[in-house]
């Protein structure tokens, strides 16, 4: 009988359960996707050359992801319990034994966990098979070896982890619910938090918070001094600092707003009270979320930054994209299709020891060089300097013949000589053509450049002088890092946003009554919606702002690795913002759906 009641309870809240399932499925799918890469030994071994420190990065990522998953399952579970509290209270009031209720809770949690993790693994398999190669080909340009979408150990790890987590969650639920009195289950927690201003304690918290944050930021920006210990120091101090700041400033801010005239308009007073009602509940998750935001945003930024760095480094490595000796007609045609900055062809003759060039040609179209200028713009520190190209005069060229010799394919150990046209014609041997060109945008032309290499009979890119070789090698090297960073970033983001979403939705059930009351008192639907949207916006925006500040400071750590970690930082931030907004909108929609009364109430 109870089983039937239980099932009826689930049916009546099917939509909420679908949300729960969807979240859990996505979470386990992401976890599987990651594990299928991280645990695949053959894959890591085969790509170790390409992905520097892959094993360590994957392990680190897997640990972080497990921790987040733990937090996530915990919040998803509290959402589940918030839906069921009332039903269980009712069953107990009707005389169901505690042990029976405990059994029901455990079974329900486990059933949901099992179904979600199995479906999630399947979805993860599908995603890995479709999205994985796509991401990799976009980033690395080639397929990674031994990459299998289906990898049994990953399947087992994913399902095992989720089952264990749900078992723990079920036991905790069972314990918590059977310890709660029936009245509490039925009435829910409706105790308000009186927001009291304790100036001294709050000032102290602000002080401690700022001190901890400063210490953390300092450690991260002086990573050379602190070496690896900067990371744990930073994590601990920043987590605690964020918590104290949230605790102190948030309460203050709400009280301030409450006293202003703003709170008397529409439902603002209610919205503020809702926030202060929650804030003690929320400071912990908001601090955690802000740290996670920093981690995921940092991962995406560094990942993308690495890729950019490759372009910047290779662009600065040589004045020309490629130097080609005696290009075939097909190769020349392909070169002409490129968006070129400059292109020049010199005649040269090669003897055993000497290469001859025509002085008149070199005077008419001088060779360019980049020189060893600092890569960072000295005036505008936040941008990479675009390389300056200068022409070499004949005298300079005679002093630095290597500037031209370096553009010789296969870099022969030969002397260089500038001669007049008449002398050149008398030199024995075949006249050769050396074509040098520079494209406007290396990244944009990479497919055409690849075709040019193919038209030359696919020599190893290292043997072609110019920026392209550096670019290709760098892409392979850093592409793996970018892939990791991007993947981890998105995974973190998805999980943390879902955590926040479930935390907020867990409160929705107890809010339902309040919105019903407001409706009866005469609040318009638009006012109710506005109040919800604003309240959730604050809960989403606060950790985002703090998280962004953390990232901006945290990127200091990467100064050791990267030329300028802040270069074009808007791109990862935009990606992040868009994804985060989607989560925000979904949360508001779901919340509306749970709490907003229909226009007429059937009693």
């Amino acid at each position: 009988m109870l089983n039937r009641l239980e099932f009826a309870g689930i049916k009546s809240r099917l939509k909420d359960y679908i949300v729960l399932f969807f979240g859990l499925i996505m979470s386990s799918a992401i976890f599987y996707m990651f594990e299928s890469l991280a645990t695949n030994k053959a894959f890591i071994k085969a790509n170790a050359r390409q992905i520097t420190g892959a094993g360590f990065i994957f392990l680190f990522g897997a640990i972080l992801l497990t921790i987040i998953t733990l937090v996530y399952v915990f919040y998803a579970n509290s959402f589940l319990m918030s839906m069921r509290r009332h039903d269980y209270g009712l069953f107990m009031m009707l005389g169901a034994k505690q042990s029976k209720i405990g059994q029901l809770i455990l079974v329900e949690t486990m059933v949901i966990g099992t179904i979600a993790s199995v479906i999630g693994t399947l979805v993860g398999w599908g995603l890995t098979a479709t999205v994985g190669p796509f991401l990799m080909s976009r980033m690395i340009g080639t397929k990674l070896q031994h990459f299998n979408a289906f990898y049994l150990p990953a399947v087992l790890i994913t399902i095992a982890l989720y089952l264990v987590l749900f078992l723990i969650a079920g036991v905790i639920n069972r314990f918590a619910l059977t310890k709660t009195s029936v009245m509490q289950l039925l009435k829910g927690d409706s105790q308000p938090n009186r927001t009291v201003l304790k100036p001294i304690s709050q000032l102290a918290q602000v002080g401690i918070g700022i001190a901890l944050l400063t210490l953390g930021y300092y450690a991260m920006s002086h990573i050379q001094k602190f070496a690896l210990s900067a990371i744990p120091i930073g994590l601990v101090t920043i987590v605690l600092g964020t918590y104290f700041l949230f605790n102190a400033i948030f309460v203050w801010l709400i009280l301030l707003l409450k006293r202003s005239g703003w709170s008397n308009r529409g439902l603002n007073a209610f919205t503020l009270s809702q926030l202060s009602f929650r804030i003690h509940n929320y400071t912990k998750i908001l601090s955690v979320v802000s740290i996670l935001i920093a981690l995921s945003l940092g991962a995406i930024t560094v990942g993308i930054g690495m890729q950019r760095q490759v372009t910047a480094l290779s662009t600065a490595s040589s004045p020309y994209t490629m130097a080609i000796k005696n290009p075939s007609r097909k190769t020349s045609q392909l070169i002409d299709q490129l968006a070129l900055d400059t292109k020049v062809t010199y005649q040269q003759k090669e003897t055993n020891k000497v290469i001859y060039y025509r002085a008149d040609q070199l005077k008419k179209q001088p060779v360019q060089f980049t020189g060893f200028k600092p890569l960072l713009d000295s005036n505008r520190r936040n941008r990479l300097a675009s390389p300056k190209y200068r022409s070499l005069t004949s005298t300079q060229l005679k002093q630095h013949p290597e500037k031209l010799m370096v553009l010789q394919p296969n870099a022969p150990q030969k002397t260089f000589r500038l001669v007049s046209r008449t002398v050149f014609n008398k030199v024995p041997g075949q006249s050769q053509r050396l074509t040098l060109f520079r494209v406007k945008n290396l990244q944009a032309e990479k497919t055409r450049l690849k075709r040019i290499v193919a038209s030359m009979g696919s020599p190893a890119v290292e043997t072609i002088p110019g920026t392209y070789g550096t670019f290709v090698l760098g892409t392979v090297l850093f592409g793996g890092l970018e892939f990791m960073g991007f993947f981890l970033g998105i995974a973190f983001l998805a999980m943390l946003a879902s955590c926040l979403m479930f935390k907020i939705l867990s409160g929705a059930a107890s809010d339902k009554r309040r919105y019903e009351m407001l409706n009866k008192v005469g609040a318009r639907q638009s006012q109710l919606r506005g109040s919800i949207a604003r309240e959730i916006l604050v809960l989403f925006a606060l950790p985002a702002i703090v998280g962004i500040v953390h990232v901006l400071f945290g990127l200091q750590m990467f100064k050791v690795l990267m030329l300028n970690p802040y270069y074009q930082i808007w791109l990862p931030f935009t990606i992040f913002f868009v994804l985060y907004m989607i989560y925000y909108i979904i949360t508001v929609r779901l919340y509306d759906h749970i709490v907003l009364p229909k226009l007429t109430i059937d009693k």
């Binding site: 105790q191 008397n264 529409g266 209610f270 809702q274 009351m517 008192v521 609040a523």
Partner: protein, 251 residues
Amino acid sequence: MTLNPVVSVRDLHKTYGRTGEKQYEALKGISFDVTADEFVGIMGASGSGKTTLLNILATLDEPTSGEVEINQQVLANLKGNQIADFRAKQVGFIFQDFNLLENLTNYENIALPLSLQNISRKKAQPEVQRVAKQLNIETILEKYPTEISGGQKQRVAAARALVSHPAILFGDEPTGALDSNSARDLLEMLSAVNHDQQVPILLVTHDPFSASYCQRILFIKDGKISQEIRRGSQSQQQFYQAILDTLGTFD
């Protein structure tokens, strides 16, 4: 009786359940008027339809057929935001379980209907003070609903219902959750409001003592008005007895 009716109900029907399914008719043609000076009680057994009637009058529910006019406005003509605004401006509602928002102070609870209409703090404050004084709750305005007694909660709820000068006050068993002293206080206060400010009150109750404060009582049975008694010149005690007698014959 030269007063125009504030509430006018004509042939109200309410059927639950969709056509084709098993239907249940909660109201089977109810008609009555309430004028500005009246304190009207509605009595009936559970399931007689009295709560349905009150919900329709308060625009919380829609009738299947029939017409309700409150303060010269036909409820059926109101749409969307107009319904919400109507609730905020024209109707005061006191519920059995108070329906106070426990995360707002009592002051904020009372001021809520005003701030919903975007009335400035300067204009709202004297209004809140006025009702608070009238209901003798000035000292608890800064407390939260969980920090005061049930009787005080209901006074706060009554203050919230009165703050926007409603055309009519509805009470749905307002004394149901109160002890007898608090109930007596509240009812006396409601009578005073009705008498002094000419705010008509419609009280749904099954408690004969509460009903004895009314001037007229409509008895509802199986979705219809089966009987109507007036207090006239009777004392409250006599009227109470009359109600008990009516209930006794009322099966």
